[in-house]
């Protein structure tokens, strides 16, 4: 007997499953009702003489109203239920463990904040909300972990994210769910959920060259970003300390929130959104740095918020 039901290993899974059971109940009720009526009528009112005709019934307004309104009400219930589950899926808690994901044909690359890098394997602790910040180097991919009931497309040129909180240690499938070319079905991996202590052990046991932010900082210096983006206000570029999450005033009066996407855009298309009071003099870095390096820079800029004494 094959499994009829997938493993349930995240806080979201029971919510999706509950909706699933309700939907099955609705579907079974109506399927059985319709199929039952059809079979019953077909037998009960089968044609007995070749000239037989049906009874002349044109319709009934009450019935029409009933089977318009009742399905509409049921649909409304399902909509609200589905929407509330989706809202929960779309809004990560404030405190999350962030992990960066880069998809490329045909592999998954994961970068932990402390600098651990993994390919097609993702280690996460149980009981902690994890947010994946994802982008692609080439075509559209999609991270799908059936046991967690989460899924989101991974797009080139943009960050998307999903979050989950694993509830059960174990190894779970990770599939690419958006068709991405020849070896699409080989673009699979595993999410390994560990007890917190084991996870800590795994973290410290992995070979690390330095945290993501520190790699980003080094890159920041190598690319000479530091010459303009200085910690004091004397630089030719905006100050980055304390920038992340703030609202930036742009030329032309518009504003933008400095999130990951904004930082990414500002590195690749510096002219797209110019901070008020600065000149569009920054060169583009498009084609010069990889998606992974971009993530390191983003993480470095984010880390500038928490450092006590910014820049050396």
């Amino acid at each position: 007997m094959p499994a009829l039901f997938p493993e349930s290993a995240s806080t979201m899974a029971p919510r999706v499953d509950a909706l699933y059971f309700f939907l099955i109940a609705v579907a079974v009720f109506f399927s059985v009702l319709i199929a039952g009526l059809i079979v019953y009528f077909a037998v009960r009112y089968r044609r007995r003489t070749p000239e037989g005709v049906g009874v002349n019934i044109h319709g009934g307004l009450l019935l029409e109203i009933a089977w318009t309104v009742i399905p509409a009400l049921i649909a409304a219930v399902i909509f609200v239920w589905g929407a509330s589950v989706f809202f929960a899926m779309s809004r990560p808690p404030d405190e999350t463990l962030n992990i960066y994901v880069v998809g490329k044909q045909w592999m998954w690359k994961f970068q932990h904040l402390d600098g651990q890098r993994e390919i097609n394997e993702l280690h996460v602790p149980v009981g902690r909300a994890v947010k994946l910040i994802m982008t692609s180097e080439d075509v559209i991919h999609d991270v799908f972990v059936p046991a967690f009931r989460v899924k989101a497309d991974v797009l080139p040129g943009r960050y998307t994210n999903i979050w989950f909180q694993a509830t059960k240690p174990g190894r779970y499938h990770l599939f690419c769910a958006e068709y991405c070319g020849t070896r699409h079905s080989g673009m699979i991996g595993e999410v390994i959920v560990m007890e917190p202590s084991e996870y800590e052990a795994w973290l410290s046991g992995s070979r690390v060259e330095g945290s993501l932010a520190s790699t980003g900082e080094k890159l920041f210096q190598d690319l000479a970003c530091i010459t303009c983006h200085r910690a004091d206000t004397q630089g030719r570029g905006p100050v980055l300390q304390g920038l992340f999450g703030k609202t930036v005033q742009l030329q032309g009066g518009e504003t933008v929130v400095a999130d990951e996407a904004y930082i990414r855009e500002s590195i690749l298309h510096p002219a797209a959104k110019i901070t008020a009071g600065y000149q569009p003099i920054m060169p583009t870095f498009q084609g010069l740095i990889s998606e992974e390096q971009l993530l390191e820079l983003v993480e470095y800029v984010k880390s500038l918020n928490t450092q006590q004494s910014p820049a050396k």
Binding site: P2, A3, L4, V16, L19, L23, A27, F30, S31, I34, L37, I38, F41, A42, Y45, R46, R47, P50, E51, G52, V53, G54, V55, N56, I57, H58, G59, G60, L63, E64, W67, P71, A75, F79, G82, A83, S84, V85, F86, M89, S90, Q105, I140, F144, P146, R149, K151, A152, L155, G157, R158, T160, H173, F175, E178, Y179, G181, T182, H184, S185
Partner: protein, 538 residues
Amino acid sequence: MRTLVLPPHHYLNDGYGIKSWLLTRDHKRIALLYLAAITFFFFLGGSFAVLIRLELVTPPGDLVSDETYNKLFTMHGVIMVFFFLIPSIPSTLGNFLVPLMIGAKDLAFPKLNLASWYIYVLGGLFTIYALVSGGVDTGWTFYTPYSTVSSTTSVIPAAMGIFITGFSSILTGLNFIVTIHRMRAPGMTWFRMPLFLWSIYATSLIMVLGTPVLAITMLLVAAERVLHFGFFDPALGGDPVLFQHLFWFYSHPAVYIMVLPSMGVVSEIVAAFCRKQIFGYKFVAFASMAIAVLGFLVWGHHLYVAGESVYAAMIFSALSFMVAIPSAVKVFNWTATMYKGSISWKTPMLYAMGFIGLFTIGGLTGLFIAAVGFDVHVTDTYFIIAHFHYIMVGGALMGYLGGLHYWWPKISGRLYPEPLAKLSAGIIFLGFNLTFFPQFILGYLGMPRRYHAYPPEFQVLNVLSSAGASILGVGYLIPMAYLMWSLRYGQIAGANPWGASGLEWTTTSPPPTENFVRTPIVTEEPYTYPIRAEAHLG
């Protein structure tokens, strides 16, 4: 029983030879040209499905290479969607029946009608060229940037095939709209029209309003791929999600192009084989129009996880649920029509009952995936595959086969062999459910679609599905064989073998080229039983 004979003059013996067919302007002959062409594409697309199911019998990708597998499901999708399902009922039964049902001599633009067939064939040739020149591996959805940047296969010929065949669809829809507006016989008011015409009219609206957006989208894909004009490629500043918006603006309503005509067929069959007025005629008619309009408001439910905004997903979700309502109204009305009918268990009725049951399952699982929070888990899995095959095969194709059997006596003048037809209808029903029901479970388990190899725990359900597919395949070959056989050896049908109402049954079988000896005059509602012969002779 009285021995029946074929009428001396009918459209089939009005001229012989290849030229009398290839240059015909008779809508009935053009319908048969389409019938031949789409049957060819159906079996071509079907053969790819056979290979797909064979590959999936075992978890590793051991029958064909991953490259070949990707081309197989792409060509299966492209051919079945654009060259079989979309033209299926409108171009064959629609072409044949629209003038007959409204009491006209032909469609409004017969030359344009023939031109649509040639355009369809030209589009088909491009597709076949794409196939023999190595195939396409983008999936039938042509998602960018894979289709414009990454794929190295024959994307352009395939996209052009779809672009060209789109014009065939547009011109057919245009022809039907004008015909239904302007060519109705005296007394044939809108509310005296058979429900098949309402659904064909609604379908034509979608063809005319949706297809041009697909056409321009395909052109933009071609421009990006060939000329490197940036529209959707992020490396050129574009947004791949915009492609998905434009693509689904057509391709979601396209699902209703496939299923609405089938709904029309089912209305005709249920009325004829219950010998009864359709319960709530106006509601069924308006439901067709509502589906056509609402169908255009829901395309974003294909993009819940694709990167559209959370709020857009909510709005599209709410709108998607609204389509469920007219669909439910139709199902309930058909069921209610059977109440106190005089129900004959002939093959078309079996298909119609099968349609109602399978469409109900397809529609209800549509509710599942319209709910955003649920869809996140199952989108791009086999749940979706199962759902749309219930609609497109369980719904659209069942309706098509039912309609083909119902009107076969009118088309050919002869009856198909009833026992064999009932047997194959049963085989198709069983095979269909065995093929696609396990896929719902597979989908919830998490098996993604378009996977050439899969983890071993999914094997049992995949084997069941493949077993069902082999039964289904046999089920489709049997009607093909006996319908051909009946062209020569079938019993002569007579004008109205089913004792059905409707103008098409008042003329001879097969009808004369000009359809009616005298222009009919309509004096009563459709589906009036018992048939008052004098009312129909006009």
